[in-house]
């Protein structure tokens, strides 16, 4: 197998059949452990997604469970970030994108329904980006930005939120003495945790993370991963990563995408020890992608 890695691509190009097998929600490993019997919070139902004329996602169909960490892995351009951005409709910002078929339901509500206010949706589904993007304001103002948008300006409430969010993001002890200094003075890892704190300040239910550690050094990465581990007590987390070990380290469920299709979704342990699809194994063993 390792002698001919080039043959992998053609012989394992996903077919409708192979996708069908793994998309069966009654995956034995998923049901085995009671840990995974959590209720479904996001239901992705046969979603096709288009950038203009080109189809980026093909019939994606799986549930995301509440208060678990779900990781999307796959080679670049496989559609994992696209799918993530569908979940809080950040794709709306890109001209010419549309959901061609299927629906995405969060807590049973189709988020692409015309009656959905995308602003309310994004308050409930927070997002952390690949490149940490603190605003060039003070740490304090960064955290309360979302609250101020909602018209909340009482000092006591803001102070309380700042402390709660920073503690939640394991950053409080590091910055408590300089809350009013510029957020840009923080290190890269601190900035990313500040972005997480900013996201949890508006009390979302779901936090989407788009390669949150790709710009961080290993120590900062470990801190963010530990933070993700803590956050899953209270939040449902969906993380996109192109670092497979990261998916292994911090997720409960791993979904593997390739060429816009979901190839396999299962518990992270199962994916990493005994993936049922050849492509998954090739990818996580580093033989392609």
């Amino acid at each position: 197998m390792s002698t001919s890695p080039t043959t992998i691509m053609d012989e394992t190009t996903p077919t409708a059949q192979s996708v069908e097998v793994v998309m069966n929600p009654a995956s034995p490993a998923l049901d085995k452990s009671s840990r995974f019997n959590a209720p479904t919070i996001i239901d992705i139902d046969n979603v096709d997604f288009y950038y203009g004329q080109s189809k980026a996602l093909h019939g994606i169909n799986f549930p995301i469970k509440e208060k678990l960490v779900t990781a999307f892995i796959g080679p670049s351009g496989c559609g994992k970030s696209t799918l993530l951005r569908c979940l809080n409709r950040m794709n709306d910002l890109v001209d010419g994108t549309r959901i061609g078929a299927g629906s995405i339901k969060i807590s049973g509500v189709d988020i692409y329904d015309p009656s959905v206010d995308v602003i309310e949706l994004r308050k409930r589904v927070g997002m952390v980006f690949q490149k940490s993007n603190p605003f060039p304001k003070s740490i304090y103002e960064n955290i309360v930005y979302g609250l101020r948008l909602q018209g909340i300006n009482q000092k006591a409430r803001l102070d309380e939120t700042v402390e709660r969010s920073l503690r939640g993001a394991a950053l409080w002890d590091e910055v408590r003495d300089r809350l009013h200094t510029s957020a840009l003075g923080l290190s890269g890892g601190q900035q990313q945790r500040l972005c997480i704190a900013r996201a949890i300040a508006v009390e979302p239910e779901i936090i989407l993370m788009d390669e949150p550690c790709s710009a961080l050094d290993p120590i900062a990465t470990v801190k963010v991963e530990e933070l993700i581990h803590q956050l899953k007590q209270n939040y449902t987390i969906v993380i996109v990563t192109h670092n497979m070990q990261q998916a292994g380290r911090c997720s409960d469920i791993t979904a593997f995408f390739y060429m816009g299709r979901l190839i396999e979704i299962d518990t992270t342990e199962k994916i990493f020890t005994n993936p049922s699809q050849r492509q998954t194994e090739d990818y996580i063993s580093g033989r392609f992608g």
Binding site: V222, E225, E226, G248, R249, T268, E269, F272, T273
Partner: protein, 229 residues
């Protein structure tokens, strides 16, 4: 106070949790093995069949623990790609658990022999076997505490005690052979005692292996098969 046994370089988070779980399972296995071994020896010395039954019953628990520990180890290796001490700990934990499980099996075998022996009066007062048992049990306890307390030097000392057990075993075998030659009616009992001694000798061997693994864990040097002195 240092954290007992190897503790992960991760302060918290899933990796530390998983390593902690492996550590707990390993220590649970060790204490179960220790208990089973002493129960087996008591069943022999105190001539109590109930204790033998207990040993046999509890061995299955040990087997299950071994399986689940291996699962934990492979999951951790697959998902976290441990390196350095973490990586050695994965290998060592798996090997120690396998040795512990075999010690448990030997304890079961001792318990079975004890049940046989308890049917007839003693061939001779038990002197050498308790001595061997004491040394072997001491080796097991010490190797586990070397693991817990991170004492690589202690491991080296344990390895030396294995020779003592071997010597006693040889001497006892000779003694029992002469019993059998003199009086064929003692053959069953003498054979059973020989088997018990052999089990104890095997246990000491496993303890030696554990000690070697402990040494490898903390010193990153493999001292197996280094018998020059």
């Amino acid at each position: 106070m240092p954290t007992p046994v190897h503790s992960s370089s991760y302060s918290n988070g899933p990796a530390a949790e998983q390593i902690g779980k492996i550590r707990e399972t390993l220590l649970l296995m060790a204490s179960l093995t220790d208990r089973n071994l002493s129960l087996a020896l008591r069943s022999l010395v105190e001539r109590d069949d109930k204790l033998s039954d207990a040993v046999e019953a509890e061995d299955s628990q040990l087997d299950e623990l071994e399986v689940s520990l291996d699962e934990l180890v492979i999951n951790h290796m697959a998902t976290h790609a441990p390196v350095a001490t973490d990586c050695r700990f994965m290998l060592v934990a798996s090997k120690i658990s396998s040795n512990l499980e075999r010690i448990g099996d030997q304890a079961v075998s001792i318990a079975r022999r004890a049940r046989e022996l308890n049917k007839e009066p003693l061939l001779k007062p038990l002197i050498d076997i308790p001595r061997m048992a004491q040394i072997a049990a001491g080796m097991l306890r010490d190797s586990i505490s070397a693991l817990i307390d991170r004492k690589a030097e202690m491991a080296q000392e344990i390895i030396r005690r294995d020779k003592e057990v071997d010597a006693i075993n040889k001497q006892l075998a000779r003694e029992l052979t002469s019993f059998m030659l003199e009086d064929p009616s003692t053959i069953t009992r003498a054979l059973n005692l020989t088997l018990v001694a052999r089990s104890l000798e095997r246990i000491a061997d496993h303890c030696k292996n554990i000690a070697e693994e402990v040494y490898y864990l903390y010193q990153a040097r493999d001292i197996r098969h280094e018998r020059k002195a």
